[in-house]
């Protein structure tokens, strides 16, 4: 009744990979924005804010992303909130991404030499001004390579959304496997597509790191 050519398989996987890309972008951008907000609390002066972010990070880095997805998907529904798979997937991934990004970025902010804080303080700048004009511009430079590197984890993390029924690349892989009975080929192709998405990111992270490090040595 229905026959899949290799092209059909590839085409369907590629179509599904669009969702992987969209989901990755949403998670990364959303996670980035949330991460910035959390970073603001984490490196701010309020003790409560710092503790909150620490707890947040502990929670989201200390539990499997898969469980976070399950809870977002089935859990929120119980509170009367209607969460479609894409929303639950996006939400869980954003929360998860933010937890990692905020830690990466905190490390970058802390890597800025203490002298920079003191010099800017002695020029009369307030905390916000120090951050805005002196610390963050330097931290951003340090932050670019690990952030790009982490985007690979986000792309791979989207694979787990298949388990709550979101039809992205991995889910398409299992569905197509069942329609074709060719697991070796299908999962091989799926792996290749992920590789094609992730490898340029990893590579550019490495290159950026080398470039920025070399530039840094001149300081």
């Amino acid at each position: 009744m229905m026959t899949f050519t290799l092209w059909d398989i590839l085409r369907n996987l590629l179509l599904a990979a669009r969702w992987t890309v969209v989901l990755s972008l949403v998670s990364f951008i959303g996670g980035g924005l949330l991460g910035m907000a959390l970073l603001y609390l984490r490196i701010g002066k309020a003790r409560a804010g710092q503790m909150f972010v620490q707890g947040y990070v502990e929670l989201f880095q200390g539990t499997p992303l898969l469980m976070q997805l399950f809870l977002a998907f089935f859990g929120l529904g119980l509170f009367g909130i209607d969460v479609p798979a894409w929303l639950a997937a996006g939400l869980a991934l954003i929360l998860w991404t933010a937890a990692f990004l905020v830690e990466i970025w905190r490390g970058c902010v802390e890597s800025v030499a203490r002298g920079q804080w003191e010099a800017s303080a002695s020029l009369g700048m307030g905390y916000v001004q120090q951050m805005r004009y002196v610390i963050l511009p330097q931290a951003v430079r340090v932050a670019v390579p690990p952030t790009v590197g982490f985007s690979v984890q986000v792309v791979k993390g989207t694979a787990l959304t298949s388990i709550i029924g979101f039809v992205e690349l991995s889910k398409a892989g299992t569905v197509v496997t069942n329609a074709t009975f060719e697991p070796f080929n299908v999962y091989g192709l799926v792996a290749l597509i992920y590789f094609a998405l992730c490898w340029p990111l990893s590579k550019s992270s490495q290159i950026l790191e080398r470039k920025l490090n070399v530039a840094h040595r001149n300081h």
């Binding site: 030499a113 002298g115 920079q116 003191e118 010099a119 800017s120 303080a121 002695s122 020029l123 009369g124 700048m125 307030g126 905390y127 001004q129 004009y133 002196v134 511009p137 330097q138 430079r141 001149n218 300081h219």
Partner: protein, 244 residues
């Protein structure tokens, strides 16, 4: 009235009392050198005057205003007193010119045009007018330190605090920085400087403060302090210095 009046200042880090009751008045236009062994509390004293460390006891008055630990008072204080560090601490992501312009624009809201004019003037004053667009990593240590001085001057402070500003420099670069400081002194700037350059202290300073174990151990005009040290600690300290 003194420009900087330090009265019975105490400062502890954890269990260790680093400043054990410092009294020191600095007059307007005076140049004071602070000398002493490593760990005697020289940096800590300067940092307290600039509000980078909070004092535990005593008081510090600058131009008649008490140093109080809140953002508003600290900002006011730092507009009166600039500080220059051993490690230069230039902002590596900004050119020399922007280093000098930044705080004027951010803190004093000076318009860019004026800030730039001021920056050019100050860089000129430290002999680096031609380095406006150079980035810190393109400058030698001595040049970086001079930019740091220009940066502090651009805020038009009443006094400058200098913490071993030549210690991180190669010997051949020390003089270019000291020459700038000498000129500042000649122009009437109030200076408090921690230094190991005894010859310079002797030549340029009005008074020398010898700190020992968190106290002002001896104080006086350079001829007296160097020529006729009264305490054995100071004698020993001066003896260990190669060039006096």
């Amino acid at each position: 009235m003194s420009l900087i009046a330090i009265t019975e200042v105490k400062k502890r880090f954890g269990d260790v009392e680093v400043l054990k009751g410092i009294n020191l008045d600095v007059e307007r236009g005076e140049v004071v050198a602070i000398i002493g062994k490593s760990g005697s509390g020289k940096s800590t004293l300067l940092r307290c005057v600039n509000g980078l460390e909070m004092i535990d006891d005593g008081s510090i008055m600058v131009a008649g205003a008490q140093l109080i630990n809140d953002d508003l008072h600290l900002k006011a204080l730092r507009l009166k007193v600039g500080m220059i560090f051993q490690q230069f601490n230039l902002f590596p992501h900004l050119s020399a010119g922007c280093n000098v312009m930044l705080s004027q624009m951010v803190v004093k809201k000076t318009p860019a045009r004026e800030a730039e004019a001021m920056a050019r003037r100050m860089l000129e004053r430290v002999g680096l007018g031609h380095k406006f667009d150079a980035y810190p990593d393109q400058l030698s240590g001595g040049q970086q330190q001079r930019v740091a001085i220009a940066r502090a001057l651009s805020m038009q402070p009443m006094a400058l605090l200098c913490d071993e500003i030549t210690s991180a420099l190669d010997p051949e670069l020390v003089n270019e920085v000291l020459a700038v400081v000498k000129e500042l002194a000649a122009d009437g700037m109030t200076l408090m400087m921690v230094t190991h350059e005894m010859r310079f202290a002797r030549e340029v300073c009005d008074r020398v403060v010898f700190m020992h174990q968190g106290r002002v151990h001896e104080i006086g005009p350079p001829e007296e302090v160097f020529g006729n040290p009264r305490t054995p600690e100071l004698r020993q300290f001066l003896g260990a210095q190669l060039v006096v």
